[in-house]
């Protein structure tokens, strides 16, 4: 298990949050590529995991990411109606809505886990939202709620 030493985490201003991003292959992953092609700069805080559809993202991935020491989780899919698999994102939206409420009910700060839509043509929107998510997580500070005592 990863017990990250104290000082590497908490020195605040230059601390860079580490966010895992689950991007749907057809829209959001393509949007991230377009941000690259148009050289739109955004903070190097996210690590992208490609999934076939936002519908594939199981709550286990999200909660495992939080417990494993990632400081934030970002899930992005196609706008409703654009989904390559017709309804994958609609199924995902309902699951995220319920999961998000439960996470906050248990006391996980709002903004730790973020859900968004980004289409294949919205490179700039993707970069803007990554910037926003990074700044939110930066304000929340390192995610040490799930640190194991032993």
């Amino acid at each position: 298990m990863t017990v990250q030493t104290e000082e590497s985490k908490s020195s605040n201003e230059d601390w860079k949050p580490k966010i895992i991003a689950f991007l749907c292959n057809w829209c959001s992953y393509a949007g991230a590529d377009l941000a690259g092609v148009s050289r739109i700069q955004y903070p190097p805080s996210i690590r992208i995991v490609r999934v076939p559809c936002s519908g594939r993202v199981n709550p286990y991935f999200i909660i495992k990411s939080l417990t494993d020491g990632w400081d934030g989780v970002l899930i992005s899919g196609c706008h409703p109606g654009d989904c390559h698999y017709l309804t994958g994102n609609l199924v995902a939206r309902r699951r995220f809505a319920i999961l998000n409420e439960l996470l906050q009910f248990f006391g996980i700060e709002p903004g730790r886990v973020n859900f968004m839509w980004a289409s294949a043509a919205e490179g700039e929107r993707f970069a803007m939202l990554v910037r926003k998510a990074t700044s939110i997580v930066k304000k929340l500070g390192p995610n040490n709620k799930f640190e194991k005592k032993w």
């Binding site: 292959n25 941000a35 495992k64 698999y85």
Partner: protein, 1001 residues
């Protein structure tokens, strides 16, 4: 002359691409010839598309990428047709492939030359709103992603040669002229929009804030120059009041524009207004239009939603003049409202909905291919087969034959492919080469031996992060036996290096850390397959588009991120398993449900390709809805046509006709359907198997409840009126006829337009006037929707003296017992017209009970107007989400007879992509169920959009879910919700993603 099993498709817009894919999937060699430097045509320029507001790029780029790399499609860009000879079945076409001055085999599309070029040329793709280098790519997601040098603006300074590390720039590269031998040609060069510049119409070209609709499309586009923010070109502010002017260059008899209607401007203008408001809520769009021609499926609902939800305001009037207010650069519009007041109103921006002209090279292509053009310089096509040009063996699809929207273009594209099938079906599969691949090495059970190839991509990666350090780091990861770096991993020579390394280190997993898998994964998968490894033993880490390019000025962070991404890829690679693609047999027979025109055309097309076809018709005889129609507006004789079709079907040995028949049930799936039908008075039962299904069950004519229909025998329907005109001469002694449009359409019960009633009304009015010149004919209408070339008949009717009065939907005309019609005109004064016959233009409606039964059997959905719901409005208009089932005719939505014929041919072509193969390969990365964990709760079934899962009883584990690998698309919506993680998606299994989340050293 010997027929050739190859086809040339001229023009690679959405139409050309769809035709090529259909033909290539059906086993023909396709030569796709594109005049510009990238495929995608006008659709690639669009931001969103009506009526679903889908993002155009999201839905078209997967299709373009597929066209770009399809094994049977030989794509050549920047070409000109030089000469054509030969006849149907065997043409020889001389094509000049103009040089791009860049070697397509070497260019990796990295874009360094475009950025360093000192010249700034006008970017035509972005409609002159932006600039790009003399060396440029048409748009960032272009397919093929090749840079080209634009010779007119290039000063020949040689800088691009200097910066190009792939040494792809060759200034002395010659044009290539090649003779291509094909059996048929499909012309799909698209259209060019009307440019109001010459006539300085409405100040375009003079006033900065007057833009055309295609320019506004680029302004709206998120990947456009304004990145999706609606700004005024004069000062970059956000315009609050935006005016849209319809019919610019269309329905124009002054000789400046074109007399026909361009069919699509009403809809794209509504969409642009909606999307503008959606982007910037302060924008209040106002549309100045004559008729609003929203005739297609779900179009009327779109217009109503635009008004209600997005605050779009429609003003029914033509703007007379536009003046620019000098200081603010706003625009003062002068127009007259319906009740006669003259109004001057200032707007911040004006968008001209420009019409569609024939492509600039229409005359050139027509002359080369020997096809005739009609009076408007569009391709002349057969009245009853809109894709057949005047020359046999040469077909036309899309806007080249008449202005049309994307769904109709895609339908016609498949229809053209359907007609080519009929011509060249014997030669199917003769010219395509199956690649010979070495046997796959058995890797299951071996410990993972991973090879990592890190890419410099010239300076695109190497210039912004420490590639050698990442390579060193990769070597230290567990199970990695070899890692090295190369300048361009996707170049041809590096492919051979990869194959050598696979042999040398006997790798069983390969990782490439370079650019995006969306475009390059198939290329590398093919390479490792040629080295004997299963395609899926491959993983990519995107360290360019999602790392080096977006963290250009943070060397250290980019390097660390690249290391993380490579490690995550290695962790996932350890968990990958080889995946076999399931192969499925195909029964080369077809079932057509419904014996109207669509059903008969489809059955005949199947039969002419020697596919055994079963045609099931509910009534006693064939003919369907069109039985009581005599002519079309354009004059084609339907009675003769229907009789011919019926005789041909009866004479054709390949077609088994079942009349008075009802489908008992249809089960099985694509390629392997088993069905039974109850037919004849004696209710006999016949069973048969088939590979595909075409649904052509048609629809019904609306029987009005209003306007005293049924109580007064002088109140008749258009169909009855047409019979009286053609078979009796009662019209001679009639003095006045009144027609009422939109009876039973565009109301709450049927909120859609039935598309054909305006044409029927005008046809009958012209015929009545012809038979009895001094007859008084009055048509009471809400919108006259004679789109496309039908506009000329609307003008003919007015010239013949037919009176058109517009009525408002909230107070429709009233009729009393002695046939006196009272109507309130737009200037709200009441007038009374006495009439001998009151003719009602009744629409088309679909019966839910009848459709529901078939829909259940085939697991296909109905929309809320009870018409069948196709897989995708834009890009798969004749397919259903359930594979192997296709739709044709008015069962899909109300349409004219020629549209139904096109859709029938299109359905056959789509079906042939399945029937032409003796076995089809299912998608590899599908779902897989672990039945020891499954508890049969049915959650996954509800989440699956493709009905690929069903509950079965297992001897040991009780009711468990089971997945039909053929129908499963691998989206994972089922696995996302599965509580006991019983479902996994091959290629994205829980373990693989677990490793990517946690594997941290």
């Amino acid at each position: 002359m010997e027929k050739v099993g190859a086809v040339m498709v001229v023009g690679a817009g959405i139409g050309g691409s769809q035709t090529s894919l259909d033909l290539a999937d059906s086993g023909y060699k396709v030569y796709l010839i594109e005049s510009s430097t990238s495929i995608g045509g006008v659709m690639a320029q669009l931001d969103k598309t009506f009526p679903t507001n889908d993002c155009a790029m999201c839905i078209v780029s997967p299709k373009l990428v597929e066209t770009g790399r399809h094994q049977n499609i030989d794509l050549s860009i920047n070409c000109v047709i030089e000469d054509v000879s030969g006849e149907a079945g065997n043409f020889i076409v001389k094509v000049r492939k103009k040089s791009l001055f860049i070697n397509p085999d070497k260019c990796t599309g990295c874009g360094v030359c475009g950025r360093e070029c000192p010249i700034e040329a006008i970017d035509i793709f972005n409609e002159k709103l932006a600039k790009y280098g003399a060396t440029s790519v048409k748009y960032p997601q272009a397919v093929p992603l090749l840079y080209a040098i634009n010779r007119e603006v290039c000063i020949g300074c040689g800088i691009c040669y200097g910066v190009c590390k792939a040494k792809a720039v060759e200034y002395d590269r010659e044009d290539e002229v090649v003779d291509i031998n094909v059996g048929a040609v499909v012309l799909s060069p698209g259209f060019d929009e009307f440019i109001p510049e010459e006539a300085n119409l409405y100040g375009y070209g003079k006033y900065k804030n007057v833009v055309t609709s295609i320019e506004f499309e680029r302004i709206l586009s998120a990947s456009g120059p304004y990145s999706g923010r609606v700004l005024r070109p004069s000062d970059g502010d956000i315009p609050e009041k935006v005016a849209f002017l319809q019919c610019i260059g269309s329905r124009d008899y002054s000789g400046v524009g074109k007399p026909y209607c361009s069919s699509v401007c009403c809809m794209y203008t509504a969409k642009e207004a909606v999307i503008a408001h959606e982007h910037m809520h302060q924008i209040k769009p106002t549309i100045f239009s004559m008729d609003v021609r929203a005739y297609g499926k779900d179009f009327d609902k779109y217009i109503i939603r635009a008004q209600k939800q997005y605050g779009v305001q429609y003003i029914r009037s033509r703007v007379s003049s536009i003046k620019e207010v000098p200081e603010t650069k706003d625009l003062r519009l002068k127009y007259e409202t319906q009740d006669g007041k003259i109004i001057e109103e200032d707007f911040h921006m004006v968008v001209l909905a420009v019409g569609l002209n024939p492509p600039d090279d229409a005359k050139y292509l027509a002359e080369k291919f020997g096809v005739e053009l009609n009076q408007y310089d569009f391709a002349k096509t057969d009245l009853l087969n809109p894709v057949q040009t005047t020359k046999p063996g040469i077909f036309a699809c899309g806007a080249f034959s008449s202005p049309k929207d994307i769904p109709d273009t895609v339908t016609q594209a498949s229809a053209a492919a359907g007609c080519v099938n009929q011509l060249l079906y014997e030669k199917k599969g003769t010219l395509i080469t199956e690649k010979s691949l070495p046997p796959e090495i058995f890797v299951r059970g071996q410990p993972p031996r991973i090879g990592v190839f890190i890419c410099h991509c010239g300076i695109n990666i190497g210039g912004f992060l420490d590639v050698p350090e990442v390579t060193r780091y990769a070597k230290t990861l567990p199970n990695v036996v070899m890692s090295d770096r190369n300048l361009y991993t996707c170049s041809a020579d590096t492919q051979t290096i990869i194959k050598e390394k696979v042999q040398e280190y006997n790798l069983n997993r390969v990782i490439v850390a370079s650019c995006t898998p969306r475009t390059h994964e198939p290329l590398f998968q093919e390479t490792i397959r040629e080295a004997g490894l299963n395609r899926y033993l491959f993983q990519m880490a995107n360290i360019r588009d999602q790392c080096s390019w977006v963290h250009m000025n943070d060397w250290e962070a980019a390097t660390n991120k690249a290391k993380d991404l490579v490690r995550m890829a290695v962790n996932k690679a350890r968990q990958i398993e080889p995946i076999e693609r399931i192969k499925l047999s195909v029964t080369p027979k077809a079932l057509v449900v419904g014996g109207g025109i669509s059903g008969m055309v489809a059955a005949l097309n199947f039969a002419s390709q020697e596919y055994e076809t079963y045609l099931v018709e509910k009534e006693k005889e064939l003919g369907g809805f069109a039985k009581h129609i005599y002519h079309t507006l354009e004059g084609a004789d339907i009675q003769v046509y229907v009789k011919e079709l019926i005789d041909k079907i009866k004479a054709n040995k390949n077609i088994h006709v079942f009349t008075e028949a009802q489908m008992e049930n249809i089960d099985g799936y694509i390629g392997n359907f088993k069905s039974s039908v109850i037919h004849g008075e004696k209710k006999e039962r016949t069973e048969f198997s088939h590979g595909v299904v075409v649904v052509a069950t048609g629809a019904k004519e609306y029987q009005p409840k209003e306007f005293l229909f049924g109580q007064n025998e002088n109140v008749i329907l258009q169909s009855e009126f047409e019979r009286l005109l053609n078979e009796t001469d009662q019209i001679k002694n009639k003095k006045s006829i009144v027609m009422i449009q939109c009876v039973g359409s565009r109301n709450d019960e049927h909120p859609y337009c039935s598309k054909m009633c305006c044409a029927e009304a005008i046809k009958n009015a012209l015929l009545a006037k012809e038979l009895n010149p001094d007859l008084e004919v009055t048509i009471l209408f809400r919108d006259i929707r004679t789109y496309g070339f039908k506009e000329q008949y609307y003008r003919k009717a007015r010239e013949a003296g037919v009176i058109f009065i517009q009525y408002d939907e909230n107070n429709p005309p009233k009729i009393n017992s002695d046939l006196k019609v009272e109507v309130l005109t737009p200037r709200n004064d009441k007038i009374y017209i006495s009439t001998d016959w009151l003719v009602l233009s009744a629409g088309i409606y679909s019966d839910r009970e009848e459709n529901e039964e078939l829909a259940k059997m085939l697991k296909i959905p109905l929309n809320d107007d009870s018409f069948f719901l196709e897989a995708h409005v834009k890009l798969r208009p004749v397919d259903f989400a359930t594979e192997g089932v296709f739709i044709a005719g008015i069962a899909h939505c109300p349409k004219t007879i020629e549209d139904s014929i096109s859709q029938a041919n299109a359905a056959v072509s789509r079906a042939c992509t399945i029937l032409s193969k003796d076995e089809i390969e299912a998608e590899g990365k599908t779902a897989r169920i672990d039945i020891t964990r499954c508890i049969g709760c049915g959650m996954c079934i509800e989440n699956c959009a493709y009905n690929a899962i069903e509950l079965v009883d297992d001897r040991r584990f009780g009711t468990v879910a089971s997945i039909n690998q053929v129908l499963c698309k691998g989206c994972g919506a089922c696995s996302g919700n599965c509580r006991c993680s019983a479902i996994d998606i091959l290629g994205f299994t829980g373990e693989q993603i677990f490793e990517m989340i946690t594997g941290r050293i």
